[in-house]
């Protein structure tokens, strides 16, 4: 148990930026802070820690758990008023073009939203497949369609 806690602590220290990044890519309701979301993700990572089987990379596993936690949180928040703008995008959020794109991505239904976010950060089909649990072919097809749709809505 002691060893598990130490291993867990080391893992969180290594992946803290990734976890915070996933949390900050979601729009939270006004009742939630980024610290609350971060805490929820840590709880789920600890609960699922025993199931990490090294079949995917550590960062992919953390990304998947964090994404599932955040999707679940956002679903629970439902129509509660949102805190705007999303914390991760403060500096450039004044830019209308950029803000429009963030809004469109935020409004994209799951799992396409997760696929687009991962793609924008440079994750490949194989990694996105492990994050979402979809096949590589499904990821490829969904990403192509989602980007086409976003491009159209964005007016490009």
């Amino acid at each position: 148990m002691e060893l598990d806690e130490k291993t867990f602590k080391n893992l969180i220290h290594r992946q803290q930026n990734l976890i915070w990044r996933v949390c900050s890519s979601y729009r939270l309701s006004a009742a939630w802070t980024m610290e609350d979301a971060f805490h929820e993700v840590l709880c789920d990572l600890w609960r699922g820690f025993g199931t990490f089987d090294q079949r995917s990379s550590e960062s992919t596993w953390v990304y998947r758990i964090a994404t599932n936690t955040m999707n679940s949180l956002v679903r629970k928040m439902g129509n509660q008023p949102t805190a705007s703008p999303p914390e991760g995008h403060d500096p450039s959020y004044r830019d209308d073009d950029y803000r429009d794109l963030v809004e469109l991505i935020e409004a994209t239904p799951e799992p396409d939203r997760t696929i687009i976010k991962a793609h924008a950060q440079g994750y490949g089909y194989k990694e996105i497949s492990k994050i979402t649990g979809l096949s590589i072919a499904a990821v490829s097809m969904r990403l192509t369609r989602a980007l086409r749709r976003l491009r159209k809505l964005y007016g490009n």
């Binding site: 709880c43 609960r47 699922g48 025993g50 794109l101 007016g155």
Partner: protein, 114 residues
């Protein structure tokens, strides 16, 4: 004309540049709080161990209970039908356990008490 690809690339770069604001000490505190709070909810591995640990004692306890109840001749099925008759303000009941209808049970009961 707005450049979608450029803005998407910027979106990805912004995300990649996000840094966790916690200091090492703050992060340690957060982790400790999660681990201590969650200790009452064991993780999946421990949970499986716990289930296995309690499975056989539970089965043994259930077997003992059955072994005690059968000799005590506890009723093992509900009555199919119960008829009641009021005789001088006193209720008498008759139960049938052989698939009788309510009417049949009442008729039988009446013939018995005649």
């Amino acid at each position: 004309m707005r450049d979608f690809d450029k803005q998407l690339e910027r979106y990805g770069d912004e995300l990649k540049n996000v840094r966790c604001p916690y200091s090492d000490a703050e992060l340690d505190r957060e982790i400790r709080s999660v681990v201590w709070n969650e200790k009452i909810i064991p993780n999946e591995h421990q949970s499986r161990v716990t289930h296995t640990k309690w499975l056989w004692p539970s089965v043994a306890a259930a077997a003992c209970l059955v072994a005690v109840l059968i000799p005590l001749n506890m009723p093992t099925r509900a009555n199919d039908s119960i008829a009641s008759v009021d005789i001088n303000g006193e209720h008498l009941y008759y139960a049938c356990n052989n698939g009788c209808s309510p009417e049949g049970t009442l008729e039988t009961f009446k013939s018995i008490i005649k």
